[in-house]
Structures are given as structure tokens and as C-alpha cells.
């Protein structure tokens, strides 16, 4: 295998750009980012201060791109980056960062810290310092098509199952459809109700849609491990599929980082604008709601709260849509403290849930979510990200909290006013 320190340092030199230079020069060492990070607040260990996680990147910046740093390097006064050091930082860059971006939000000088963590991962991965779990997820995505090893035949089996259940045909590779629906492998395996919900909603809204045999998987492990070359390979499958089918809009599923991957990183990775729009399923549902395309009936009467997935809400800017949708179907909707863009991460994003080494840390960081939930004591928790959902379920089980978690799309689908041609009953 060919990972090496030399390659890693070269990549770090390559990824340092004007924003990073200005971020490092403007950091005032105030430490506010520490209080914004759940790995710091729940452990109290200062090594989890977000800006500290970037130390190797900062050193490369200083030694390569600043006058004094270059003089110091020339005089052998500065300490070069070592393999041992990067090995030590692996925990900080992968295990204790979910790329949730809460640190970027609170930084008083506007440093996008999570942007820098993402860039540092480029060098970490290429120097052989990515966690095995994340490497394997990346390998499966590149080689098999999905981080969980899901292949097209599994999707087809799922389609058949949903068709039988709903009586609605699930379109595959339909050219000229308005929407191309993406799935995350978690949804294919664990949460088949998502596909069924989408089918029913699309039917009621009267929209044409399709799945794509060459680009059904929305998740992108290349983003999580931080290797743009691989992320590009993965995102290109969707872009090629969408352009081949000439769809108007690609719908990112209930998955946080998939949205970031296709919506924000995608065009930058392939180096050109898309010929189609990208929307999150929550954005599409709220549009349908606003246009009166979907009608619901009945209200959930138990106490429901909503967990905002970081990549969708904080990083993606989808904040109000899910609230509008919750109001449609929940009579007793309560907001957790810090809900919305300041919401605390479930602890599983950014590749952390695929990383077994991080399990223990992730569960202790979950105390933050636990405290948030205890403050409002909901009967059920709604979210819109499959990774959040699994992480939440694991955390709740660990802390023996009896709290069912469900997806917002399926909740909406359960309340659709359906005409008699389907054999499903309403909620």
C-alpha cells in the first residue's frame, strides 16, 4: 500500500488556500470553539478543542506559507510534522469530530473550523492515518457502490417489497422524470419505510420521479474520510445518472452528509455547475406543502420533538421547512433547547459512526443529546437523517431511555389523505 507521510504533507500543502491562511492568521485563541464542541463539553478534555485538532495543518501553514515560519524552517528552528504526531492526531481529527460545524458557527472571527478539519483529513487519509472503519466504508462505496455493500439487486428487492406493500409502481431509470430520488444505504437496509413514504407522497403530489440504477446511493464516504479524488468518483455516479436521465431535480434523502456531498461539495468536486437542481427531501416536502400538493389528515397527539441533523440544518440552511412540516402533523410539538442551527450533534456524523474506535467516545458525547432530550421529555423523537436516527437509537439504548425515533418523511406519509386505489390505510 502506498500511503506515506511525504504524500500527506504534500497534500496538506496543496489544500491550504486563501480561506485557511486567513483563518489561521485571524484566530485569536479565545477558545470559544471548545464550548461549542460536544466532545469537549462532555469530556472536559482540552485536547478536544476544535482549533487544536487542526494543529498539524496549522504547522504546515506556518512552516510553508509564512515568512517567519519559512525562516525558522530554514534555520531548523521549527519541528517538522512526524508520522507519530499524525498518528496521535488521528483520534482528534476522526474520532472526536463529526464535522457538525457548531465550532464554525460560534467562532467570533468567523473561522470555518470544520472546513479546515475536512481539509486536514485529506492529508491524514493519504498519509495512512484514517481509521480502519472509515477506510473500509470508503472501499465498499468505491468498489461495491455503497458503504454498507448494498448493490442494485438489493435495491430492486426493496422496490418489489414496497410495490407490493403500497401498490404503487416504483420507477427505475425513467428518462425525463422531474425528480431523481436518492437513497442512503441505511434506508435501503434498515428503514424501507422511506421509499414507501416517498412513493406515496409523489403519487399524491402528482410528480414524476425515478430511481437510478447507476446512481441510487447518496452517501459519500469519500467526503467523510476526506479524499476528494474518491469523493469525486462517488459523486460523479449521481451526476452522470441524473444527466443521463435528464431529470430536473435530484432529491437528497434523509441523510445529512449526503446532502453536503451532493449539494455543496458536488459541483466543486467535478469542477462545474450541475445541469440539475439538488434539494433535500425536506425542502421538496415543504414546497409541496406550500403549493398545496399534499394534504394530510389527523394529528399526532403525543409529545414530539425534532432533532435537527447538522448537515441539513446548520450546514445546509434547511431550518424552517421541517418545522412547517412538523406543525402539519404534530399537535404537541416541542423544541429542544438549542434547536435549529445551534442544535447539538447526535455524535455519529462525519464518519464517526463507521469508526469502531470512536464508539466509547461517541457514547459519552451522547450525554449532551441526552440532556437536551431530558429538558423537554418528548414521547417520540423525529429526525430527517438515517445516520442521526441510528446513532440516536444506539445512544438511547445505551442510556436506557425509552424513546422511539422516526423519520419525518414517513411521519408525513402516514398522515396523507389517500384515495382508495392504494390498499394502505391512513394513520
Amino acid at each position: 500500500m502506498s500511503a506515506s507521510l511525504e504524500k500527506g504533507v504534500r497534500v496538506l500543502k496543496e489544500v491550504i488556500d486563501a480561506p485557511i491562511a486567513s483563518y489561521f492568521s485571524s484566530c485569536v485563541h479565545c477558545g470559544l470553539c471548545a464550548e461549542a464542541c460536544l466532545f469537549y463539553t462532555e469530556t472536559g478534555d482540552p485536547k478536544y478543542t476544535p482549533i487544536h485538532k487542526l494543529e498539524p495543518l496549522r504547522r504546515v501553514y506556518e512552516q510553508e506559507y509564512t515568512l517567519l515560519g519559512r525562516v525558522a524552517k530554514w534555520l531548523h528552528l521549527s519541528k517538522p510534522i512526524t508520522d507519530a504526531e499524525l498518528a496521535e492526531w488521528q483520534e482528534l481529527v476522526y474520532n472526536s469530530c463529526t464535522l457538525c460545524g457548531r465550532c464554525s458557527l460560534v467562532c467570533p472571527v468567523g473561522n470555518d473550523i470544520v472546513y479546515m478539519v475536512r481539509k486536514l483529513r485529506e492529508g491524514m487519509a493519504i498519509s495512512g492515518h484514517a481509521p480502519n472503519g472509515v477506510i473500509e466504508a470508503t472501499r465498499r462505496t468505491v468498489e461495491l457502490g455503497s458503504p454498507m455493500g448494498v448493490k442494485l439487486h438489493a435495491v430492486k428487492a426493496q422496490m418489489k417489497h414496497v410495490e407490493a406493500e403500497t401498490g404503487i409502481p416504483i420507477p427505475l431509470d425513467v428518462e425525463g422524470a422531474e425528480y431523481m430520488v436518492q437513497l442512503s444505504s441505511m434506508e435501503i437496509i434498515n428503514f424501507p419505510e422511506y421509499l414507501s413514504a416517498v412513493a406515496r407522497i409523489m403519487k399524491q403530489a402528482g410528480k414524476t420521479w425515478t430511481l437510478c440504477s447507476t446512481g441510487f446511493e447518496a452517501t459519500n464516504a469519500g467526503i467523510q474520510i476526506g479524499v476528494s479524488d474518491l469523493a469525486r468518483v462517488i459523486v460523479s455516479r449521481i451526476v452522470e445518472g441524473a444527466e443521463r436521465l435528464k431529470v430536473k431535480c435530484v432529491i437528497s434523502p434523509e441523510c445529512g452528509h449526503a446532502y453536503t456531498a451532493i449539494r455543496w461539495e458536488g459541483p466543486n468536486l467535478i469542477g462545474r455547475p450541475f445541469t440539475f437542481q439538488v434539494k433535500h427531501i425536506l425542502e421538496v416536502l415543504d414546497e409541496f406543502r406550500a403549493q398545496g400538493l399534499i394534504k394530510t389528515e389527523g394529528m399526532e397527539t403525543d409529545r414530539l420533538s425534532f432533532h435537527d441533523p447538522c448537515q441539513i440544518t446548520r450546514r445546509g440552511g434547511v431550518i424552517q421547512q421541517q418545522r412547517n412540516l412538523m406543525q402539519m402533523v404534530a399537535a404537541n410539538f416541542v423544541e429542544m433547547p438549542d434547536a435549529g442551527k445551534y442544535n447539538w450533534c447526535c455524535g455519529g456524523g462525519g464518519g464517526v459512526s463507521a469508526n469502531e474506535e470512536a464508539d466509547e467516545l461517541r457514547l459519552s458525547a451522547f450525554k449532551r443529546k441526552k440532556a437536551q432530550l431530558e429538558a423537554v421529555k418528548p414521547d417520540r423523537l423525529v429526525t430527517a437523517c438515517a445516520v442521526c436516527r441510528t446513532t440516536l437509537e444506539e445512544g438511547l439504548e445505551h442510556y436506557q431511555m425509552d424513546l422511539p425515533v422516526l423519520g419525518l418523511t414517513e411521519l408525513i406519509a402516514e398522515h396523507l389523505v389517500e384515495s382508495g386505489d392504494g390498499d394502505r390505510k391512513g394513520a
Binding site: 500500500m1 496543496e14 493519504i126 495512512g128 477506510i135 472501499r139 474518491l230
Partner: protein, 361 residues
């Protein structure tokens, strides 16, 4: 002067009514930022003042301060305040001369030890043991060392007494120093100015007589009430400064329109004094109103401040240096940026597309 009877009778004798005296006290109190009730207290105190003994010692001076206080406002109410004090020794004003005068001085000092007010104008010559300035065969330095410690309060009148003034200007051949350089163990009230404004001096005396204490002083020993703001802060030409309208010469259009004299060297922005609102010559005007910038005469070392006609913030040479440094800094910045671009470019050129094999060692 009539020195019998109380002050009000004296004033009446000079044609000044009780009402205008009260008005004067109220004005004085407000000038000194005292509460309004202080005006009445001041009037009452002054009216029945026990007439504290005042000794005025002239050192290295030009008598300009005495002229300012005793003559330019005469016969003004300020001058009459002296009737509530017993001015026992003032060379310029006293009738006595020679041995007689010296006798009075020593008698008053001995009789009023710890009670008299000592006013000094002029700086203290210290060169040649003070031999540059002597009265009756004794140096000023010697006299100050003897009389100073016995005074209840010391008031240094004029820039020379307060800060050394013109005698102390380079090269200071007589080794002139301020009164406060010699008297270090008790507060000295500095009333700088060349000359100082009369009302400032009478205000300090009135405060002492009324309250038995000295007014609040700033870090340079000046009464805050009169030296709390700069000339610039209270200047009627300030709006022109704020609009960036400056006279460039003394006879240009701007000068005729009364624009700001900053570029002609006005020291108003750095000079703390009451000229701009108390004014001179019975409230007639002050220098800037007459078309000349402030020369900063009440500030320490004003004579050596680099020329009366040199604008405050236009020192030419340091600016050239700064411009040079800025150019050099920008050049270094450009060089570093080019080098950084090259470095990043090289790293980019060396990019090998990452594959799965690159993730493990």
C-alpha cells in the same frame, strides 16, 4: 486702595452692587464646576473673609503675569478680590522698597506661619546656586526653600513658575526649573499661561477662602475646572476642523472666512486652557478669534514644541519613513505571496490522484 471695612462696603464704595457681586460669585462657581449653592457660600465667605495674608514672590519673570492679573482687568471685580486678601508683599505693587520691604516680608512670614498663601511667578534659577536671580542679596532658590515650607498653600502663577516656561527653554542657561521641582512635599497649584487668565487665579483664591482648601487639580497640578478641556474642544472654529476646512495661509480665502488654523500651526488640540470660553480682555476675544493659532503657552515646554507655525500632525520626515516602510512591507508581502503561489502550485502539480491503495501504508 481702601482696605478698611468689609468687602461689600468696599465694593459699594467702588460702585459695584451686592447683586453684581453675587452674580460674579455664581459665575465663578459655575466656571469651576461647583454646585450652584457654592456661589452663595462663596459670596458669604468672601464678604466676611478674615483676609488671609498673601505673599507674592517674583522670581525669573517678566511681570507679564502681574500685568495680566492686576492691570488688564482693572478696575474689574477680579481686581477687587484682592481686597478680601491682605496682599502683604508684592514688589511691583507695594509702596515700600529696599530694607523696609524685606522687613515686611520676614515679619509677615513669621507672624502667619502655616497660614499665608504664597504666590510665585517666574521660574526658579538653580544654576550657580541660584545666583542668576537674586532679591536683596538672596537667591530665589534660597528664599523659596525658606518661605515655601511655611506657607499654607502655594500657587505657581504663569507658565514659568508652573513649568519653567521661557527661562527653561533650550538651552536653559540659568538652570531654570518649576516651583514644583523645588517644593516636593506639598501640593503646588499650577496656573500656567503666558500670561494666565485672571479669573483662574481669582477663582483659586476664592476657593481657598471659601472652602479652606485647594480646588481639584489634574496630573499637572492645574485646577481641573479651568484646564479640563482643550482650546480645540471649545473653539468656535471647531466645525471647520470637523468639515476639513483649513486656512492654508494667513491671508487666503479660508483665513478670511475664519476657517480652522490647524494647518497654520494652531496648538489648540493639545493645549488645556480656558481661553476659548472665558476669553481675554474682559471677555472680548482670544487669540484664535484674532486670526492667530493658539501657541500653546500654557503647556509645559511650549517654547520648544517645534515652531508656532508648524502643524501638529504633519511632521514630514517620519511620514517619509512610514511610506518607505509601507512600500517595503508591501514588496515583502508580494514576494511572499508569489513564493507561496509557487509552492502551492508545485504541490498541486505533484498531485497524484488518490486511490484506495493510498489510504493504507
Amino acid at each position: 486702595m481702601n482696605k478698611h471695612g468689609n468687602l461689600l462696603e468696599n465694593l459699594a464704595w467702588q460702585g459695584i452692587s451686592r447683586r453684581s457681586f453675587l452674580k460674579y460669585c455664581a459665575t465663578l462657581a459655575s466656571l469651576m464646576a461647583l454646585p450652584p449653592t457654592a456661589g452663595r457660600a462663596m459670596a458669604e465667605a468672601l464678604a466676611r473673609a478674615p483676609r488671609p495674608s498673601v505673599i507674592w514672590l517674583p522670581f525669573q519673570e517678566c511681570t507679564g503675569c502681574t500685568e495680566s492679573i492686576t492691570r488688564s482687568h482693572s478696575p474689574s471685580i477680579e481686581g477687587l478680590i484682592f481686597d478680601s486678601i491682605s496682599l502683604d508683599y508684592q514688589e511691583t505693587l507695594m509702596a515700600a522698597a529696599g530694607h523696609q520691604a524685606e522687613e515686611v516680608l520676614h515679619k509677615v512670614v513669621a507672624e502667619n506661619e502655616g497660614k499665608f498663601v504664597l504666590i510665585i511667578d517666574g521660574s526658579v534659577a538653580t544654576g550657580l546656586d541660584g545666583a542668576y536671580s537674586c532679591i536683596a542679596g538672596r537667591s530665589n532658590l534660597d528664599l523659596l526653600r525658606e518661605v515655601g515650607p511655611k506657607a499654607a498653600a502655594i500657587v505657581a502663577v504663569g507658565s514659568c513658575a508652573a513649568f519653567g516656561g521661557i527661562p527653561k527653554a533650550k538651552p536653559n542657561p540659568t538652570g531654570a526649573v518649576a516651583v514644583s521641582d523645588i517644593i516636593r512635599d506639598k501640593p503646588v497649584v499650577n496656573i500656567p499661561g503666558c500670561p494666565p487668565i485672571p479669573v483662574v487665579m481669582t477663582g483659586v483664591l476664592a476657593h481657598f477662602i471659601t472652602f479652606g482648601s485647594l480646588p481639584e487639580l489634574d496630573r499637572l497640578g492645574r485646577p481641573r475646572a479651568f484646564f479640563g478641556e482643550t482650546i480645540h474642544d471649545r473653539c468656535y472654529r471647531r466645525p471647520f476642523y470637523d468639515q476639513g476646512k483649513f486656512a492654508k495661509t494667513f491671508d487666503d480665502d479660508g483665513a478670511r472666512k475664519g476657517w480652522c488654523l490647524f494647518e497654520l500651526g494652531c496648538k489648540g488640540p493639545v493645549t488645556y486652557n480656558a481661553c476659548a470660553h472665558v476669553k481675554w480682555n474682559d471677555g472680548t476675544s482670544f487669540p484664535i478669534e484674532s486670526g492667530h493659532g493658539c501657541i500653546g503657552c500654557s503647556e509645559p515646554d511650549f517654547w520648544d514644541a517645534g515652531g508656532f507655525y508648524k502643524a501638529l500632525s504633519m511632521p514630514a520626515d517620519p511620514l517619509k519613513f512610514v511610506a518607505g516602510a509601507a512600500v517595503a512591507g508591501a514588496a515583502v508581502g508580494v514576494a511572499v505571496s508569489i513564493a507561496n503561489r509557487a509552492r502551492k502550485g508545485a504541490a498541486k502539480a505533484a498531485h497524484e490522484t488518490a486511490t484506495l491503495a493510498d489510504l493504507e501504508k
